[in-house]
Symmetry: C2
Subunit: 345 residues, 2 copies
């Protein structure tokens, strides 16, 4: 983990573009502190108001790289702004502007906003004129302050083959960057032009006009990103115990999909030659093994998750290791739903 | 939910076979209490020692329908036995017997065990002689008390077509029940012969020799079990908010796979004609909608999960409704890993 953190910080020490590590990947203060301490960072990226509330405990510059919709959530963001956090949210709709404006004015504060441009995925205005129209709306609205632009090249980031990933990322980013000039022409700020991700950091992180890169998975990695040949090392695993060997060719272990996500495919088994996860049930991993495998009930094994974010979200703590020694138990503070925890009182 | 609970209790009020509701489905005291109060129950089923620790707060008869491996976990089970809980665990290996025996003796108590018979899935001894050999080993070992047999017809339970499901369930159960006679011949108890599940409750729940049925999903249901035409109603949903409408044919909402599992397929959208979930990202559901759909940012929607257990496991509370009124906020107490919470102190 420390090597990954320093490798990424070093990459961003060279260019004008900086790093904004994504808190959603691990939701863990102890990790985010180390990312920020390594340098080259402008602040943190969060996915939700709840993550931002945790991140605000140790970081003063936060981007929620997501639409914040709902007056309750907008109010929580406004309270962070009021408390002195330089917080920014992505906006792509009239309603997003209206609600954040109302919450900010009710709290007697101002919240920063970035216009999110649709670069091919889940949200955003069309590039160019539509983004300028929304930018104008924001500039004319009290309680919100236009700070720049954002786009997320998610579909590109997941492409295994590097050349095609680069081509797709460039196509996506061209849509975002094509909006920079009209924004400047309109007199809008462009000192934040934020994009992502771990899969494309060294491509979009060197594109002129991009000021910061949101990247999360690099810090601990997973098998999906490993396939992209990135210069980061696998740094977390799910520890399991073999429960049963119901046949010579299979074992079951106590690490099912309540402890390891499978949305990016089955996890790998670390350092057990020939062992393949064939099925995840709630509490069981079914693992095919060679008939001469010595794996038996009681043996420990480690799964290498295919997707870092949802796997970590299933757990309450990390056990931090140096070599084989546990040197820390790190709570995954931002896991779950802050509003649900608040509801419990 | 109340109708589901009473429908299942009514079914088991008729036969000699009783119900042992599975706590793993919802991990929630407020729900389990209602299941037990409806009658026809012998106690609760749990999947883990951590669930049993929560269940022991309100239920004195608990089966952990799973191998408990590891001296730390065995010790936690033994403490429950010592505190007066009639607790039983499944065992299919020498190591399982040894470890539970040691933990029970160290705690000066006795833990009940069922021999798990492999009826085609994740664990268990072969039926017949091998089960008797393990039963003998248990009978000869201090600290553990042989109580009966168990099998889980998991693969059968998931078959949509009822006749084929019944055939498969019978084949699986025949393996379990073929071991009852040799067990009796050997002088072993068979007053507990436990099987599952929601998908097969009315088939295996009427088979001679089966004393109890483990069933969990019936209480709140999901789309996977709905396809089996069971007489239970969908009774929980994941509430989301539309964040963006990036194109006329799609919206994104704030309910991704960190709030709704997809291991049994995409969730449905409740009561929105023509809306189909096409992709779940960490924090986003991408939903295809007809171009004339009025769905817009700020609208609420409800996902119908495809799999109840892992979806509930992502949340900290239920909001309990009567009609449209929230009448309770129910903590999902057994979510996560008790050992991780203990590690945090």
């Amino acid at each position: 983990m420390q090597r990954n953190i320093h490798r990424m910080a070093e990459f961003f020490s060279e260019g004008p573009t900086k790093l904004r590590p994504h808190f959603k990947a691990h939701k863990t203060t102890e990790i985010a502190r180390r990312q920020l301490a390594a340098g080259s960072c402008v602040g943190l990226t969060c996915a939700t108001a709840g993550e931002a509330e945790v991140a605000a405990g140790f970081c003063e510059d936060i981007l929620i790289a997501n639409q914040v919709i709902g007056l309750d959530k907008c109010a929580r963001v406004a309270i962070l702004a009021k408390s002195g956090i330089d917080i920014k949210v992505a906006v792509d709709s009239e309603l997003g502007v209206e609600q954040m404006s109302k919450a900010a004015q009710d709290t007697e504060t101002t919240v920063g906003v970035l216009v999110e441009v649709n670069i091919g995925f889940r949200a955003g205005t069309p590039p160019g004129e539509a983004a300028v129209v929304l930018g104008r709306r924001i500039s004319d609205t009290p309680g919100v302050e236009l700070r720049g632009l954002m786009g997320y090249e998610g579909p590109a980031a997941g492409i295994e083959e590097r050349d095609r990933r680069g081509t797709m990322a460039k196509q996506a980013l061209d849509r975002l960057l094509s909006t920079v000039h009209p924004f400047r022409e309109a007199g809008f700020p462009t000192d934040i032009v934020s994009a992502g991700s771990t899969g494309t950091y060294d491509m979009t992180g060197r594109m002129d006009g991009v000021t910061e890169i949101q990247a999360g998975s690099y810090v601990l990695m997973d098998t999906a990103y490993r396939k992209e040949g990135l210069p980061f090392e696998q740094a977390f695993w799910v520890l399991g115990t073999v429960l049963s060997r119901p046949s010579p060719g299979s074992v079951s272990a106590d690490c099912g999909h309540k402890s390891c996500s499978q949305d990016h495919g089955m996890p790998d088994v670390r350092d057990v030659p020939g062992a393949t996860v064939t099925f995840l049930a709630d509490e069981h991993a079914m693992i095919a093994v060679p008939p001469d495998s010595t794996l038996k009930p009681g043996d420990r094994l480690q799964l290498v998750p295919s997707h870092i974010d949802p796997t970590i979200n299933l757990h309450d703590v990390f056990y931090a290791l140096e070599g084989d020694t546990v040197v820390g138990i790190w709570p995954i503070e931002a896991r779950g739903y802050a509003e649900q925890r608040m509801a419990m009182g």
